[in-house]
């Protein structure tokens, strides 16, 4: 498939903005805390008073990408922007709240994973194609691949791949998960802005786990479920190099591998280099 160009990327985690702020070792830096929270972003306006934390973090991630791309929100408004949302578990806090009987009927609507991208779509007037993939890192790679397909097929001019994971409200449940989850669980929200590019993109899936990448990043980042590949992208573009990017993600025994040639066209790469210290 024709590969898209990485136009901008916003990555927020409990460690701060971007991967430049990650500690050398997340486990040591967490100092025994099993969950590191991103908190609840403050926003003005009545509409956001009852908006879920995951919805507010999604908006913050998209705004971070807009800032990274030096663009006003109007640059992405309309039906020529696709929105692809990925998450493994960001719906869990809303589910728990509703199951435990907290909040009124509106809380039920919030349990739908689709409501998080809907908050973004409503606020930023994004009325183009959309998709929602659920799962860990392979779902994110699938989301990037799907978004690239929408651009390549002319269904949109640009696509946002949005990932959100939050854990704080369900800390008790995760504490019971034993070795099902790595520690610490680090909340993250990220948005990748893709435009038409000149490279190529391919995605392979398998069960062998061979060629897994990003273990060093994971050690520094902690467990962020679906947001990990977006952190890897942020890390890669900061390494000041062009060429082919290999991204691998594992989840429930499945390995997905995205091979992306020339994700950063020269002008974008040059701009990124100028911003780096």
């Amino acid at each position: 498939m024709k590969g898209p160009a990485l136009h901008a990327l916003g990555f927020l985690s409990a460690w701060g903005a971007g991967v430049g702020v990650l500690p050398a070792d997340a486990r040591l830096a967490a100092a025994g805390r099993p969950v590191l929270s991103l908190g609840r972003p403050e926003r003005d306006g009545e509409r956001f008073r009852r908006t879920t934390r995951e919805g507010l973090l999604a908006l913050a991630a998209v705004e971070s990408a807009l800032e990274d791309g030096g663009a006003h929100r109007l640059a992405i408004a309309g039906d020529r922007t696709a929105l692809v949302y990925v998450t493994a578990a960001a719906y869990a806090p809303s589910n728990q709240r509703f199951i435990e009987g907290r909040g009124g009927s509106i809380r039920f609507a919030e349990t739908a994973p689709a409501v998080v991208p809907a908050e973004v779509a409503i606020e930023l007037h994004l009325s183009g194609p959309y998709a929602i993939f659920l799962g860990g890192p392979p779902a994110t790679l699938r989301g990037i691949w799907h978004a690239a397909g929408l651009i390549a097929d002319g269904e949109c001019d640009r696509a946002l791949v949005l990932g959100v994971e939050i854990f704080e409200e369900c800390e008790g449940l995760y504490a019971r998960s034993g070795r099902l989850c790595r520690r610490p669980l680090v909340e993250a929200a990220a948005c990748l802005w893709l435009e038409a590019g000149q490279g190529t993109l391919s995605l392979e899936s398998g069960r062998d786990g061979a060629g897994e990448t990003g273990t060093d990043l994971r050690r520094r980042l902690g467990e962020t479920f679906c947001c990990e590949p977006l952190a890897a992208l942020d890390s890669w573009r900061r390494m000041d190099r062009a060429g082919t990017l290999n991204l691998t993600g594992r989840w429930r025994g499945e390995t997905a591998r995205l091979v992306w040639t020339d994700p950063m066209p020269r002008p974008l790469l040059a701009a990124t280099r100028r911003e780096e210290p």
């Binding site: 498939m1 039906d79 929105l83 493994a88 578990a89 719906y91 869990a92 589910n95 728990q96 509703f98 199951i99 435990e100 009927s105 509106i106 039920f108 609507a109 919030e110 349990t111 739908a112 994973p113 689709a114 409501v115 991208p117 809907a118 779509a121 409503i122 007037h125 994004l126 009325s127 183009g128 194609p129 959309y130 998709a131 929602i132 993939f133 659920l134 799962g135 392979p138 779902a139 699938r142 799907h146 397909g149 097929d153 002319g154 269904e155 449940l173 995760y174 019971r176 998960s177 034993g178 099902l180 995605l203 392979e204 899936s205 398998g206 069960r207 429930r252 025994g253 499945e254 997905a256």
Partner: protein, 391 residues
């Protein structure tokens, strides 16, 4: 851009009105309803305790060690039926993908975990992508396992994503579909929203007063056309999606997102609106949905608005959420095969605001070649499929 058509080789279902495709078809054509009092969990405290409940799952020879998760078992029942129609084991397991759509995933496992069931598998099963992996294990497939969740349009999205895998050469066979189960979580939710009717489900009827929920799983075997069987059900021609960007839980009052999705699906199919022979509408029977959907269909169909048959099967099954779009797609293709369009159950007095040619009363003899199926969901999700029957 016109997309490569993808063969829909066969289908398999587990529904309240039939746990195989032929039983489902017979029930739809004879106007059977699967809506009953819910028995599997307490509903005494709810305003409405009825729904399309599958009373007893088909006996499967071996569950293959899958967890006692109802969502996974519904999927496996549908896969067992699919396997009876299509040889799923002939393909290289590494080239077989599973793509399923769901609105609720394994949320019932989450309910159990929060209620004190401390087994770790409850936690793992509570994540919405768990049932897809259970199905993949049961099938022995080793290709991509994908879960999509575009609320009640999830099934349409799953079929489209599955078709993309084939077009890209990532798989040779895709088992695609959707599912959702009835559980306290979803019944309480829709009850709290006052979306459930105490009456019958009456799509497009002026007396309609809401929906009832149902549970089901529905799967199709997707293959590239050269790999498909001679007896295939039909072909996926196109898919379109669009976001309303207007409200969290209510559809856009003018249906602009749905119209964009329909026109995108027609564009991908390379089909003009005047080629549509039949429309399977979302038709939830809520006061809000039906007139909006009809207005969109009237705009798309133009002068042929009263010449194209339209139905909704939600009164037969209840709204089966993640399975709905897949069941409706299967129904479209069976209509082509059998030369018969199932009626819209309980549609006795069409709403003047819904001015289309509804199939009602009895099944209508007709053999639609090209069908349009529409879906809407929470969060302003809209999806549309354009299908061609194997006629």
């Amino acid at each position: 851009m016109r997309a490569e058509p993808i063969a829909i080789d066969a289908a398999g279902v587990a529904t309240p009105i039939g746990q195989d495709v032929e039983s489902l078809w017979s029930s739809l054509c004879t106007g059977a309803s699967g809506v009953t009092q819910i028995e599997r969990f307490p509903v005494d405290d709810l305003r409405v305790g009825r729904g399309g409940e599958v009373k007893k799952l088909s006996r499967i020879k071996t569950w293959g060690g899958v967890a006692d998760c109802r969502a996974t078992r519904l999927l496996i029942c549908a896969a067992d039926d699919l396997g009876a129609q299509s040889d799923l084991r002939a393909a290289d397991p590494a080239r077989v993908a599973v793509v399923v759509g769901t609105a609720l995933g394994g949320v019932e496992e989450g309910e159990r975990a929060l209620a004190g069931d401390r087994r770790r598998r409850r936690l793992a099963g509570a994540l919405y992508d768990a049932p897809a992996h259970g199905l993949a294990r049961w099938l022995g497939c080793r290709g991509p396992v994908i879960t999509v969740s575009t609320a009640c349009a999830s099934g349409a999205t799953a079929i489209a994503v599955g078709a993309d895998l084939l077009r890209a050469g990532e798989a040779d066979l895709v088992v695609a579909g959707g599912y959702d189960v009835l559980c306290r979580f979803v019944m309480r939710g829709f009850d709290a929203l006052r979306a459930l009717t105490r009456d019958e489900v009456r799509p497009f009827d002026r007396r309609r007063s809401g929906l009832l929920l149902g549970e089901a799983a529905a799967l199709v075997a997707l293959r590239r056309l050269p790999d498909a069987s001679q007896e295939r059900l039909g072909t996926l021609l196109g898919y379109g999606s669009a976001s309303d960007a207007s409200h969290i839980s209510a559809p856009d009052p003018e249906g602009r997102g749905l119209e964009r999705a329909v026109r995108a699906a027609l564009r991908q199919a390379g089909v003009a609106p005047d080629a549509i022979d039949f429309v399977s509408a979302h038709g939830t029977a809520t006061p809000l949905n039906d007139p909006i959907e009809c207005a969109v269909l009237a705009r798309v169909l133009g002068e042929r608005r009263r010449a194209v048959p339209v139905n909704s099967i939600k009164a037969n099954l209840g709204h089966t959420m993640g399975a709905a779009a897949v069941l409706e797609a299967i129904m479209c293709l069976l209509a082509s095969r059998h030369g018969l369009i199932p009626p819209t159950l309980n549609l006795d007095e069409p709403d003047p605001a819904c001015d289309l040619d509804f199939v009602r009363g009895a099944a209508r003899p007709a053999r639609p070649r090209v069908s349009l199926s529409t879906s809407l969901g929470f969060g302003g999700c809209n999806g549309a499929l354009v299908l061609e029957g194997a006629v």
